[in-house]
């Protein structure tokens, strides 16, 4: 029995049926034809949308690195959030009106599952809540017609690997409990260094050769379906190509934990390019029977979060 009292019949197929990695800056939505690079990324979103249509999940779960939280993990639960969003940095590119179809019962199920694994979590159901740019861009470009219900998950600024891995598992619990066929959408750049001055779209490029090389290495792995291998590299990725705004580069931990911490995926890189210097890629990962397989990983699996045990305080 689920948190909302339902008991779905199709549990045999329950689970995550696909994962997408997409960038969150607004250029592919607001100015896709400003240059060839932005167009290629927008086309990558279109390919990812076509993949979703073929797979036809019954739920989209967005994990956005652009929605920070402090009090645990926040889950968007307002059935029809509606607003005209403006990005705080790229406001000159225009406004982004939206009206989304949120699966509130599933959002509450995520809260229930997260708490069961020792996490703090809460559902967010307020008119005018500021849905972040990355979530707006992803849902507008991948689900602009609201064909599939969705929910959005925050990224806790203090969470490190153990908490993030457990949160991924908790969302997987919720998907299975409700018997859903879900696709997960992870909103994140690869390298995240923006140019700190304005650049013309035609001159946009990845900020440095080093960032570009690391991005391509990540995409090489993902293209081979090596999701957990990529996740295991997160601490090194954080050191090498991430401006340290948060404690660590954690979205790959979350994605691998939710989808399944292995390397058996059919990976496709739909697009890669630069958005104001950041590394922006559209990637899909579909669980498959073949692949690189399990390896001996450096970092442990974690099932239940037991707090920071005063290490941080």
């Amino acid at each position: 029995m689920t948190a909302d009292g339902t008991d779905r019949a199709d549990r045999a197929e329950a689970g995550f049926v696909a994962g997408l990695i997409v960038p969150g800056l607004p250029h592919p939505l607001l100015c896709p034809d400003a240059c060839e690079g932005y167009r290629a990324i927008a086309d990558g979103f279109a390919e990812a949308r076509a993949l979703l249509e073929r797979i036809d999940p019954d739920l989209l779960v967005v994990y956005s690195t652009m929605w920070p939280s402090i009090i645990g993990h926040q889950v968007q639960a307002r059935p029809e959030p509606e607003w005209v969003h403006v990005d705080e940095l790229f406001h000159h590119l225009g406004s982004m009106p939206y009206r989304f179809r949120i699966d509130a019962p599933f959002a509450h199920e995520v809260v229930h599952s997260a708490e069961a694994r020792g996490l703090k979590a809460r559902a967010i159901d307020y008119h005018g809540f500021p849905i972040d740019t990355g979530s707006v861009v992803a849902l507008r470009l991948l689900n602009g017609d609201n064909r599939w219900p969705a929910t959005i998950l925050s990224s806790n600024v203090y969470a490190d690997r153990a908490e993030t891995v457990v949160f991924g598992k908790a969302v997987g619990d919720a998907v299975r409990t409700q018997g859903r066929r879900a696709a997960v959408i992870m909103v994140s750049t690869l390298s995240n260094r923006l140019f700190t001055d304005w650049v013309a779209p035609a001159d946009d490029r990845v900020h440095s050769l080093k960032d570009d090389e690391w991005n391509r290495k990540i995409l090489e792995f993902l293209g081979q379906g090596r999701l957990e291998d990529t996740a295991q590299l997160s601490r090194e990725v954080h050191r090498q190509i991430r401006v340290p705004k948060v404690v660590n580069f954690k979205p790959m931990w979350w994605l691998s934990s939710a989808l399944g911490a292995h390397n058996d995926y059919q990976g496709t890189v739909h697009a890669y390019g630069a958005l104001h210097g950041t590394g922006a890629a559209v990637v899909s990962l579909v669980p498959s029977d073949g692949g690189i397989g399990l390896k001996e990983f450096d970092e442990d699996d974690v099932e239940v979060f037991r707090g920071d045990r005063e290490v941080l305080a």
């Binding site: 929605w67 920070p68 939280s69 402090i70 009090i71 645990g72 005209v84 969003h85 403006v86 705080e88 940095l89 406001h91 000159h92 225009g94 406004s95 703090k120 967010i124 307020y126 008119h127 005018g128 809540f129 500021p130 972040d132 806790n156 203090y158 260094r193 923006l194 140019f195 700190t196 001055d197 304005w198 401006v243 340290p244 705004k245 104001h276 920071d308 941080l312 305080a313």
Partner: protein, 297 residues
């Protein structure tokens, strides 16, 4: 000739507005964080004796990684919902912007070599840091504001680079004000130590759960406050890199450095109106009155 007639350290925990229960904030509280709210009350009392035209605020919650931005739309009316504490802050706001002064500051900052941008999109939602600090300073929004973004160079480069840029921005702010006909109050909208608790009591205003996150943060807060109360602003700027790192301080936004630079790095004491913690972070409400320079703390 315009003047900076007052400067204040004006932190922006939304909890303070929540606990005040203004009619334009949807949630209602029973009590909470009185030492800080009474501190703001004393700040407002101090400002009653100051003749000013415009409030200028620098907020950490308008984060612009490409340059410093300035609000450039004359009037805003909307709903601000805190992304972290939406249970506490859903505030209906209506405010005026002193666009000519904002444009003058933007131009002066650009002349000083900083990357700048005016924000002209009328759909833009004003950040909650700006709103909280301004509400607590002027609850009736009787004055127009200039809102300045935080351009996050501490994250992208280093705290030292942030300091250089904020000192330049502070000087440019002062020059633009001097060239105007405005009397201006400056607000640095930031906490001191900034390590949060990651859990919230069932009753958010349950003060039995409120205290500093750890002793170390408290020591840093007291050190900074003591230095500011004794007029050692330059020493604070010099210490800022270590303070910012050790106290996980919101001074990484540059707001305090900007304020001190705009005030001419005051060697006169700031007045401490109140100190308190909010969900573990350290917050002080403090004021500098250039007309009273040299007064005892």
């Amino acid at each position: 000739m315009g003047r900076i007639v007052y400067g204040a350290l004006a932190p922006h925990p939304p909890h303070l507005v929540y606990a005040e229960n203004p009619p334009n904030n949807e949630p209602e509280a029973e009590c909470g964080w009185e030492t800080l709210r009474w501190g703001y009350e004393r700040l407002r009392k101090a400002l009653e004796g100051v003749d000013y035209d415009t409030i200028v605020v620098l907020s950490p919650h308008w984060q612009t990684y490409v340059g410093t931005h300035f609000l450039g739309v004359p009037h805003f009316r909307s709903l601000s919902v805190d992304p972290i504490f939406p249970n506490l802050f859903r505030y209906h706001y209506e405010l005026d912007v002193d666009v000519p002064l904002a444009e003058a500051m933007c131009a002066a900052a650009n002349e000083a070599g900083l990357v700048t941008q005016m924000m002209r999109n009328p759909d833009f939602r004003v950040d909650y840091g700006t709103i909280v600090s301004c509400h607590l300073t002027d609850p009736t929004w009787s004055k127009p504001i200039v809102s300045i973004s935080s351009q996050r160079s501490a994250a992208y480069y280093s705290i030292e680079v942030m300091q250089e840029q904020m000192v330049a921005l502070g000087r440019a702010t002062a020059e633009a004000i001097a060239a105007s006909d405005r009397n201006v109050v400056l607000l640095a909208s930031e906490s001191l130590s900034h390590r949060h608790f990651v859990a919230e009591p069932d009753v958010p205003e349950d003060m039995s759960a409120e205290h500093i996150t750890n002793h170390h943060q408290y020591l840093w807060d007291m050190k900074l406050i003591d230095m500011l109360r004794t007029g050692r602003s330059q020493a604070v700027i010099d210490l800022m890199p270590e303070f910012t790192e050790q106290a996980v301080s919101e001074s990484d936004s540059g707001a305090l450095t900007w304020l001190l630079a705009a005030l001419g790095v005051p060697d006169y004491p700031a007045e401490l109106f109140g100190y308190g913690t909010v969900i573990g972070t350290g917050n002080a409400v403090m004021g500098w009155n250039p007309a009273q320079a040299g007064g005892a703390p």
